[in-house]
């Protein structure tokens, strides 16, 4: 029997994988991909809660799924802008390594 907790655990592990990617990797594109993993982990737990919380008509909570739809839209826009910034940065500095971009570092 699959419980709500199983989905939450999978979502949590996926979030931690994305978090570790942001902390450990130095390639900006990989960091952006890890951010996507974290966003999708949040989506998975939202959809699991939506399925768990059935209303009086016996259907899943569709407000949550509309929210997930918005998250996916905003994430797609975020990826487009982030990749454009990476391309502009690569043109200026010829690198995508975060270690080489430290002008603002204190």
């Amino acid at each position: 029997m699959i419980t709500l907790g199983d989905y939450l655990i999978v979502s949590g592990i996926l979030f931690v994988i994305g978090f570790a990617g942001v902390m450990l990797r130095r390639n900006l594109i990989i960091i952006l991909m890890s951010l996507e993993l974290m966003l999708n982990a949040a989506n998975l737990s939202l959809v699991a809660f939506s399925r768990f919380r059935v209303d009086s008509t016996g259907l899943p909570d569709y407000d949550v799924q509309v929210f997930v739809f918005f998250i996916i839209t905003v994430a797609a826009a975020e990826v487009a802008v982030g990749l454009a910034i990476i391309v502009a940065l690569y043109r200026a500095r010829q690198t995508t390594d975060v270690k080489d971009i430290s002008s603002l570092k204190f």
């Binding site: 709500l4 931690v16 450990l24 569709y62």
Partner: protein, 167 residues
């Protein structure tokens, strides 16, 4: 959905998600991310969220990943060559991630509703596209239009960002 299929797709998602972080070549990372997102779409469908699953395949595994691949091709990135790793910083990052993982496990373990199975749905078919559409264009009409403006702003911003400055 049978527990067997759930664990197959959950393992697929997690293993290829970990491969995204572990792989040294960016192209291998992107392809792992595609497989991970396909597994995630299957998990969404196992939760009877068919529309979200389809959107996941179309938007993420389709559009966003093509964008990533295209940028990697454009920048001609190679696999990171063996630069020395800052072991102290890596260990610190890994420790923070593991502490977060332990915290998530303890929170889910103490959540009483986490041990309950999902309630059954009334029929074998559910009309989820119609219901999401009704919510989207009824209750959430204003946020939907604001998201439309946001996507427009992002499009204009990307064009401006990638325009070459005249010298």
């Amino acid at each position: 959905m049978s527990p067997f299929l759930f664990w197959i797709f959950a393992l697929l998602t997690l293993i290829f998600g970990a491969a995204v972080v572990i792989n040294r070549s960016p192209v291998a990372s992107v392809l792992s991310l595609v497989v991970s997102f396909l597994g995630l779409a299957a998990l969404f469908m196992s939760l009877n969220a068919y529309f979200i699953g389809i959107i996941q395949v179309l938007v993420y595994a389709g559009a966003v990943m093509v964008l990533f691949l295209f940028i990697i091709m454009l920048l001609d990135l190679r696999a990171e060559e063996g630069r020395q790793i800052n072991w102290l910083a890596s260990a610190g990052g890994l420790a923070v991630a593991l502490i977060l993982l332990g915290q998530i496990f303890s929170v889910v373990g103490h959540l009483t509703i986490a041990h309950k199975a999902f309630p059954p749905l009334p029929g074998s078919t559910i009309d989820d596209v119609r219901n999401i559409g009704a919510a989207l264009f009824g209750n959430y009409n204003l946020p939907f239009q604001i998201v439309g403006v946001l996507v427009l702003v992002a499009t204009i911003g990307v064009v401006l960002l990638s325009k070459r400055e005249p010298r």
